[in-house]
């Protein structure tokens, strides 16, 4: 789960990592209301907040999207008035498909250098890995390709943590100079604590700004938390609801189902009781030049009513024309699946078709139920046959359209 920048900053602040001073504009209900109605007189709360800042400031739209800066989501202001105007422009505006609901406003930090640092999970060695570069900032991804020597990587034994020699090594390899030992030592140890204690998959600071008086400041942060560990990260779990996620993901989550958006242009949906089979189905469908829009993983032992909800959610996406259900029942029972489908078909839009293939536990009972269903449903006996049917449907759809 990726945190919004301001939440990452909050986490860094908590561990004493130096970040630019600033405020978050979020729950200003009155302000928001005022903005919607564009009634300037109601914006006093906002103005007051802006008065107390140290200018110049940067106003940053809090949305989970790449290229935020280029899209106009990061703006500079020299006075409270300027800041206020930017806030009014940005709040509730649409940035690459996301509504801006929160702004982070921080003091603009000017530095003499921009570095990059992150701690990430090294899946190969099963250790946290520090990545550091003295060539940070927006060009870091290019540096990684054109000048990999400028990027230092070092694994951390999780039972030892960061000892001084790790910091020495990073400093030597990146040639930033031992004068930065204390600052780097302090920062790395704190960032490592963030990584471990918050169950991170990634804790990144970019840019890490070096000021004229040689302090280092985390000017922007990205934090990705392990979803499986959210049960022990209550603070972050609570924050999840604030994230702007696909409403279908949220809807599915309510029923403990996993909705996975695939290709926004795709018109086929895939549903199965395991992600391996979902990937296999998508692979076969895509190979036939068809496109999958979304998939839904039922997990093991799914019951009829949850299956019904899953179908409802997938087909509520107007782009989806065909749903392919492929079940290999172990704990999942084919009759439960069939019952869920039967229920769903009753509400099925006439333009949509379900192709279903069931195998495994209680297959016979399941098939009997499916035979009895009236509606746009085609039963097949293998994934390959299912994909063939999908293909035929596509052809006939296209020809009927044209």
């Amino acid at each position: 789960m990726k945190l919004l920048e301001y939440k990452a900053k909050e986490l860094f602040d908590k561990y004493g990592i130096r970040t630019p001073a600033g405020i978050v504009i979020d729950k200003l209900d009155k302000t928001n209301h005022a903005l919607e109605s564009r009634e300037d007189s109601d914006l006093e709360g906002l103005s007051q907040k802006l008065e107390n800042l140290d200018y110049p400031v940067v106003v940053k739209a809090q949305v989970q999207v790449g290229g935020r800066g280029k899209a106009g989501g990061v703006r500079f202001a020299d006075t409270p008035e300027e800041a206020r105007n930017i806030c009014i422009q940005l709040l509730h505006s649409n940035l690459k498909g996301f509504i801006v609901k929160e702004l982070l406003i921080v003091k603009k930090v000017s530095g003499i250098k921009e570095w990059y640092v992150s701690i990430t999970l090294d899946r190969g060695n099963k250790v946290p890995m520090i990545i550091f570069s003295s060539h940070g900032g927006v060009d870091i991804e290019e540096t990684a390709i054109t000048d990999p020597d400028k990027i230092v990587k070092i694994g951390i034994d999780p039972f030892i943590g960061i000892e001084d020699h790790i910091v020495h090594y990073i400093i030597d390899k990146s040639d930033i100079g031992m004068a930065y030992f204390d600052e780097m030592n302090d920062l790395l140890k704190k960032l490592y604590r963030v990584f471990i204690e918050s169950d991170c998959l990634l804790a990144e600071i970019n840019p890490l700004i070096v000021t004229e008086d040689h302090q280092i400041i985390a000017a922007d942060g990205k934090v990705d938390i392990d979803d499986s560990a959210l049960f022990r990260q209550q603070d972050i779990l609570a924050f999840r609801d604030k994230l702007q996620e696909d409403p279908l993901i949220l809807d599915a989550r309510k029923f403990r189902l996993l909705y996975i958006p695939i290709n926004p242009e795709g018109d086929i949906a895939v549903m199965s009781n395991g992600s391996g089979m979902i990937m296999s189905c998508i692979d076969l469908i895509t190979k036939k030049s068809m496109s999958v829009g979304a998939a839904l993983d039922l997990g093991g032992g799914c019951t009829a009513d949850r299956i019904y909800e899953g179908i409802r959610i997938l087909l509520s996406n107007p782009r989806i024309k065909t749903l392919f259900i492929s079940i290999f029942g172990g704990i999942t029972r084919c009759d439960e699946v069939a019952n869920g489908v039967s229920q769903a078909v009753k509400h099925l839009d006439s333009s949509k078709t379900i192709v279903i293939r069931i195998e495994g536990t209680n297959k016979e009972e399941g098939l009997k139920i499916i035979e009895g269903i009236q509606g746009n449903i085609i039963s097949v006996d293998s994934i390959r046959e299912g994909v063939k049917v999908l293909y035929d449907l596509q052809i006939s759809n296209n020809s009927s359209v044209s």
Binding site: L121, R123, G124, K126, V127, E141, A144, D157, P158, F159, I196, D199, L201, D226, D227, S228, A229, F231, R232, L258, I260, P261, I262, N263, S272, N273, G274, S275, G276, M277, I278, M279, S280, I282, D283, L284, T286, K287, V292, A295, D297, G299, F328, G329, G330, I331, E359, G360, T361, S382, I383, R384
Partner: protein
């Protein structure tokens, strides 16, 4: 012969008194697995289908001479249960639950090296040596004894493949669910040496997927050490980047690491046969056998 699990396995079920634990203990016993003990703290003295329950794994091992364990415990207690099993001296530990925190598995990985034990899972269906024993929750009816070993990160792709194999009369020596998590206790490369050595395994099927580099490492090992034919399927060729495909481990990094293309390429270079689908695996097996 089979690997890891057979008639000589003396299995503990951790979490035996839970719903899943009890249900699958019955299933495993029915399949002929020698389940010798169960463990649930505070339930010592009870029994489940005649299997005695102990408070701790150490006591269970001391009393029954058990040599393997399977954990049917919730993800949040998995690390604790695995560590207990390691400390009790068990060398084969199977863990089933999905959504074990990554850092817990990181810890387990390092301790497993120290204790020189083999952890399979998490998010694994377990291991089955058809006709001999099973430890896990797989629907055992679809399996049949034979000479093809199957290792899979995905349960459904494995079932699908095995089901078709069995229908075509192709049996399995041992099938292992490596699990779909980011940090599996054992990955392909850890298990390949056992399969290469196993006299009853003639062909190795390796069902991988996007994410991580387990398939690349396996390819390197295959190139250098494996003489038996290897058939591989990589699922997720058309998955979008930076999106987890359900399995926590099935995710291509923003920089492209973990893509199916590289995995297939490495496997091809190592001399493995590349299958396009589960059905294709079975077709390739028919050609070879």
């Amino acid at each position: 012969m089979s690997i890891l699990i057979d008639q000589n396995t003396r299995l503990i079920v951790q979490g035996i008194t839970g719903r899943e634990g009890t249900f699958h203990t019955e299933q495993m016993l029915a399949y002929g697995t020698n389940v010798v003990a169960g463990v649930t703290p505070g339930r010592s003295g009870q029994n489940v289908f005649g299997v005695p329950v102990y408070n701790t794994v150490k006591e269970a091992v001391e009393e029954t001479n058990a040599n393997a364990t399977v954990l049917f415990v919730p993800a949040k207690y998995t690390a604790q249960g695995v560590m207990e099993a390691m400390q009790a001296g068990l060398k084969l530990i199977l863990t089933i639950s999905e959504h074990v925190p990554v850092q817990d598995m990181m810890k387990i990985h390092h301790f497993a090296r120290k204790y020189q034990c083999r952890v399979i899972g998490p998010n694994s269906f377990g291991i089955i040596s058809p006709g001999k024993a099973k430890a896990g929750f797989m629907a055992h009816k679809i399996f049949t004894p034979g000479s093809v070993a199957v290792m899979s990160r995905s349960a459904t792709n494995c079932y699908e493949t095995v089901f078709m194999m069995t229908n075509k009369g192709i049996g399995q020596s041992t099938c292992i669910g490596n699990g779909g998590d980011m940090i599996p206790g054992s990955s392909f490369v850890d298990l390949l040496p056992l399969l290469e050595e196993d006299v009853d395994t003639k062909v190795i099927v390796l069902i991988g997927e996007i994410g991580g580099s387990e398939e690349e490492l396996a390819a390197e090992y295959i190139k250098q050490h494996v003489t038996k034919p290897v058939i591989t399927l990589i699922a997720g060729k058309n998955a979008p980047k930076d999106t987890s495909m359900g399995h926590a481990g099935a995710i291509i990094s923003p920089d492209g690491t973990g893509s199916a293309e590289i995995k297939e390429q490495r496997m091809q270079e190592a001399g493995a046969l590349i299958a396009e689908s589960t059905q294709h695996i079975v077709e390739l097996l028919e050609e070879i056998l």
